[in-house]
């Protein structure tokens, strides 16, 4: 039976220091026993641990900031990093007498996203108020969609590599419970020394799509892969730029563990996860923490925890004030949002006031999965190569550009792209856009190699020189470093003869470089 990513069952390793190969969670910060995903490849044979296996259950709530010029319900600008409170309208500040006015672009973004995630788009959806008190929520409530969200019942397929070497990929699916439109809150800066909180409302009211993923995942790697795929989809659609570092994509994980055949355990919510890498770490840590706690006879509290990236662990969040009562009520200032399709378009329509789901569906761009398949079909590369290409921003385009400019077969080009270009970029933390070696230069180099004017070893040398970005062409470097392959038959014979005759001096004179 082939291993399929996370086997879904975790066992305790009773021996000290036993850590599974591959992207397992690593040893617990407390030092001793490690938890290993059983399908990882050989760390804990079945039955040896002597403890009933645990099934982790991971669900995700993802908030994606909508890429739009203005906010969800007001005309103030959406922009990262601006002077405090400069992108705030009277409505955003919740001044009395102001009303929400829905931004069309935000609705279109949510419909696109719902369609890309195979959801049913609700032709009638509603807005509600979710009440809680916090300094960055001036109205005392957030406008969201709790009763009837804009999209429901979708799915997201993502790929995982079974081993670290990316040689075998497996496809998994996670169900999308719903997508809802809601407002973002402002930002609080806590000043503990002066015992005060500084509030900037620039972000207050920015449109968000909350994507709720059902608890179909079972470990950090799956969660990370699902979020990564969602990120790529959002970026392809343009509905969100989904840059986690700028807070445009925020992920909260809901985690619990239970024994097979028993009901789901108590779940905890983990927040404050700032990157996809940390997401995997946070989820795995929390699963491990819960297992250890339960095996030591403890209980899991239904609480919210924050991920501390420095310590690599989750900690209870400080303002733990009991279960919140959000007192949901319909938003009285907004009637239901009605969407149309080709069949239900009203007769005398005002185009600006009508959103046609079918029209949007027809104009959806190729999703990442389709793009990857096309690369495989068109260029004969392996699925894992295609996956690696689309996983790095701009790399697929770079690859295609090189292929166009060289006679070398795509199957050979891909090696140069993934093994040399990509690893160099990673080593120096550069994006494809920042690459000192352009597709033109690389194609030039590969042509020399293809025409057998230089050897493969020489080509690597030239590439190393090209990285310096000194503006030289491959041909110039070859000439400079005398890396040309000898083509002249007679010259080659003379050299070989000299070697055979043991006349070292002549060999030194005749061999170039």
């Amino acid at each position: 039976m082939a291993a399929r990513g996370c086997g879904g069952v975790w066992r305790r390793a009773r021996q000290r220091g036993v850590v599974g190969p591959g992207p397992g969670p690593g040893p617990s910060p407390r030092g001793q026993r490690a938890v290993v995903c059983n399908a990882r490849g050989g760390a804990v044979p079945a039955g040896k641990s002597g403890v009933a296996p645990w099934i982790p259950v991971v669900g995700l709530e993802i908030h994606a900031q909508i890429s739009s010029n203005s906010k969800l319900f007001s005309g103030s600008q959406v922009q990262f990093a601006a002077p405090p409170n400069s992108l705030v309208s009277f409505f955003d500040a919740s001044l009395p007498g102001t009303l929400p006015v829905l931004n069309r672009r935000c609705v279109e973004a949510a419909v696109m996203t719902g369609l890309a995630l195979n959801c049913r788009i609700n032709k009638k959806s509603m807005f509600d108020r979710k009440h809680y008190f916090y300094a960055d929520l001036p109205a005392g409530y957030q406008i969201t969609q709790q009763r009837v969200p804009i999209a429901v019942n979708g799915s997201l397929s993502y790929s995982l590599c079974i081993d670290n070497k990316m040689s075998q990929m497996v496809t998994k699916t996670v169900r999308i419970k719903q997508i809802q439109l809601e407002q973002d809150s402002g930002k609080s800066l806590h000043d503990d020394t002066r015992s005060q909180t500084l509030v900037d409302l620039n972000r207050a009211g920015v449109g968000l799509m909350e994507v709720v993923m059902e608890p179909d995942m079972c470990c950090g790697e799956e969660a990370a892969a699902a979020v990564r795929e969602l990120q790529l989809i959002l970026q392809t659609l343009g509905s969100s730029q989904a840059v986690m570092a700028e807070g445009q994509l925020r992920v909260d994980a809901n985690i619990s563990v239970h024994h097979p055949g028993e009901p789901y355990g108590v779940r905890t919510e983990v927040k404050n996860i700032n990157s996809i890498r940390f997401l995997a770490k946070a989820v795995d840590y929390e699963i491990q923490r819960q297992i250890e706690e339960l095996e030591n006879g403890g209980t899991i509290l239904n609480e919210t925890r924050a991920f501390d990236s420095k310590l690599g662990c989750t900690v209870p969040m400080r303002d733990k004030e009991g279960k919140r009562d959000y007192r949901f009520m319909p938003e009285p200032n907004l009637p239901p949002l009605i969407l149309y399709d080709a069949k239900s378009l009203p007769a005398n329509l005002n185009h600006q006031q009508v959103i046609n789901i079918d029209w949007i569906q027809e104009r959806l761009p190729d999703l990442p999965s389709v793009k990857r398949e096309k690369l495989v079909e068109q260029y004969g590369i392996l699925p894992e190569h295609s996956f690696a290409l689309s996983n790095e921003d701009g790399l697929a385009e770079f690859f295609e550009s090189v292929v166009k400019q060289t006679q070398m077969k795509p199957k050979k080009v891909i090696g140069w792209i993934l093994n040399h270009l990509l690893s160099y970029l990673k080593q120096h933390s550069l994006t494809v856009k920042e690459s000192p070696v352009s597709s033109f230069l690389l194609a030039d180099l590969l042509n020399l190699l293809e025409k057998k004017e230089i050897s493969s070893t020489a080509a690597k040398q030239v590439l190393a020189e090209l990285w310096k970005g000194e503006g030289k062409t491959p041909l110039e470097i070859v000439k400079e470093q005398k890396l040309e392959l000898l083509q002249d038959q007679k010259e080659l014979e003379q050299i070989c003869q000299a070697v055979i005759d043991g006349q070292e001096n002549e060999v030194i004179m005749m061999v170039p470089g």
């Binding site: 203005s70 935000c106 005060q196 909180t197």
Partner: protein, 92 residues
């Protein structure tokens, strides 16, 4: 049909208002009784109404243009406390 202490605690916590004197509690009881009259109507099989305007109230969709903002000074004018251009709130 008295309102329990737990409910009173919860309400005071949510509203951040103390109304625990007997007059306050009596008023609360009366308000709840008044609202409970709604239960006398049988609404089985009736779709909840969103608005008395029903289908005539169309949700207006605004174009995605930047038309507001840049009024920091006006916004901060009413703030009791500010630090540079930030509003100041109590900690936590």
């Amino acid at each position: 049909k008295k309102v329990s202490v737990e409910v009173l605690d919860h309400l005071e916590h949510l509203a951040l208002v103390d109304f625990r004197d007997s007059e306050g509690v009596q008023r609360l009881q009366k308000a709840i009784q008044f609202a409970d009259q709604l239960h006398e109507v049988n609404t089985d099989g009736v779709e909840p109404m969103d608005s008395v305007l029903e289908d005539r109230w169309c949700l207006y969709l605004r174009e995605d243009d930047v038309t507001e903002g840049n009024c920091t000074k006006d916004l901060l004018e009413n703030a009791r406390e500010k630090v540079e251009e930030y509003f100041v709130a109590p900690p936590g």
